[in-house]
């Protein structure tokens, strides 16, 4: 009976020591392994960055080759400033649809994760990135909301008509369009 108890105690201790050692080895990551994890996060973020870069370029080409007709708003009672607001709003809207806002959001999340992971392991951020987080997520977002806000001030029945105009559903060249409409 005593021998059985002794074996049980030894087994119990072995289980305890093994479990503790396994936990310790899972937590202890050497600097090389840390670098590998940081690199993994960086590579993932960089992949999303390149996907977005390519998408922006494709949409830019589409927009460059599309100037809207100068008579587009002729039948609508709009002021010069309303026309500018409408063009600005639809420029942003079509650009966002074309580029896919999901790609921007994915990059923002992976960028933040990469910076967090680097800081977690190394205590600070030292790896340089081509852009900063503010640029990806936020700079000019206040302008985008002001743009939407101004657009929503236009009468609903006019907005309804505008939203059905096929030309306003594709990326277009804002400057050239505004120029031929005589808005600049």
């Amino acid at each position: 009976m005593a021998a059985v108890s002794k074996r049980f105690i030894v087994f119990f201790l072995w289980v305890f020591v093994s479990a503790a050692a396994a936990e310790e080895s899972a937590m202890l990551i050497n600097p090389q392994q840390e670098d590998e994890i940081i690199n993994l996060a960086y590579t993932q973020m960089q992949g999303s960055f390149e996907a977005l870069e390519n998408k922006i370029e494709q949409c830019r080409i589409l927009a460059k080759n599309n100037t809207l007709p100068p008579t587009l708003f002729k039948s609508l009672p709009l002021t010069e400033q309303e026309m500018r607001v409408i063009l600005g709003h639809f420029k942003s809207l079509t650009q966002e649809k074309c580029e896919d806002m999901g790609l921007w959001a994915k990059l923002a999340m992976e960028f933040a994760q990469f910076k967090h992971i680097e800081k977690y392991y190394k205590g600070k951020n030292t790896i340089e990135t081509a852009v900063n987080f503010e640029t990806i997520c936020c700079i000019s977002s206040e302008g985008r909301f002001e743009e939407k806000w101004n657009y929503l001030k236009i009468a609903p029945e006019i907005r309804e008509k505008l939203e059905r105009i096929p030309e306003l559903q594709q990326p277009f060249d804002f400057i050239k369009t505004a120029e031929i409409m005589g808005l600049f």
Binding site: F49, L52, E53, I56, E57, R60, K64, E80, Q81, R84, V85, L87, G88, K91, S92, L107, E128, T129, A130, V131, N132, E134, T135, I136, I139, S140, G143, R144, E146, E147, F174, I175, K176, A178, E179, F184
Partner: protein, 111 residues
């Protein structure tokens, strides 16, 4: 109109300076841009840290350099810069003359 204009004695309005500060925030990490822009006044305007003081003379050549800088910059950055310039143009109906020409050139590049 040309989107690559000569502009002389350009003075920025207070809202224009706000827009320039937004572009400076975007450019903050760009050493490459500083190298490309060299001695162009556009370097002082868009990459500098100091206050925008006097009148600026910007030549067609400066805009050409700017266009090159935008070509090598990440699209994420140049897209945000275009956004700032375009929204500034939309929001400022009274904007005319040199400052308007300047922001059209920034929004459209010199392409």
């Amino acid at each position: 109109m040309t989107t690559c204009p000569d502009i002389s004695m350009l003075l920025f309005s207070p809202p224009g300076k706000v827009a320039i500060n937004k572009i400076r925030q975007i450019q903050r990490t760009s050493k490459l841009l500083s190298t490309i822009l060299g001695v162009s006044p556009l370097l002082e305007i868009f990459v500098g840290n100091g206050a925008l003081g006097g009148a600026y003379n910007i030549s067609k050549k400066d805009w050409g350099t700017w266009a090159n800088a935008m070509r090598v910059a990440p699209n994420v950055k140049s897209r945000r810069i275009e956004d700032v310039a375009r929204r500034y143009l939309v929001d400022n109906l009274s904007l005319r003359g040199k400052e308007q020409t300047f922001w059209i050139a920034v929004a459209h590049g010199c392409r």
